[in-house]
Amino acid sequence: DVKVTQSSRYLVKRTGEKVFLECVQDMDHENMFWYRQDPGLGLRLIYFSYDVKMKEKGDIPEGYSVSREKKERFSLILESASTNQTSMYLCASSLGDRVLYFGPGTRLTVT
């Protein structure tokens, strides 16, 4: 079974803080993705990566950055958290068979 883990299920941060969301997959997948889910907006792609040290902007990259130093790990960074970044963050990975495997999500609240 593919396993995608995210470092925290729930996180509360203050406005202006730097926030790190970590994602690890154990299946040697090349592709990794960060999405956020908001009510009425569905799943929106923030950043993705096809290989180590590679990154591509998704549909809503503003206010975020990413890091992929190792194949199994893909980090999402909020440089200066804002209240409009309160959301459910979902990490996913895939091997190239077009199916994404998602982690359990991190519910981030920025106060």
Binding site: F33, G58, A92, R98, G105
Partner: protein, 115 residues
């Protein structure tokens, strides 16, 4: 510009009946489609997919139909069970033949199956 649309935010059906979830897309270059199911506080899980060269794919109680001329796909669940109650997301891929691709998701439809 929303390229994948799920126009029904919610759907309620009786246990044992058919659930039909709909999805429309605007980009004719999408060539692979997937359905995901999501329970609260969990990540989405893959349900079923279909390539644009097919018009139907079936897996147990789940069947996906694709109408390319109408740019429309639907997910049929027969018979519906209370455990099917979840949010269902439709997703599409552009030029899925390569190893590098991304999924574009719809906004989701909340299905409630009443006992």
């Amino acid at each position: 510009d929303q390229q994948v649309k799920q126009n029904s935010p919610s759907l309620s059906v009786q246990e044992g009946r058919i659930s039909i979830l709909n999805c429309d897309y605007t980009n004719s270059m999408f060539d692979y489609f997937l359905w995901y199911k999501k329970y609260p506080a969990e990540g989405p899980t893959f349900l079923i997919s279909i390539s644009s060269i097919k018009d139907k794919n079936e897996d147990g109680r789940f069947t996906v139909f694709l109408n390319k001329s109408a740019k429309h796909l639907s997910l049929h669940i027969v018979p519906s069970q209370p455990g099917d109650s979840a949010v269902y997301f439709c997703a599409a891929i552009l030029n899925s033949g390569g190893s590098n691709y991304k999924l574009t998701f719809g906004k989701g439809t909340l299905l409630t199956v009443n006992p």
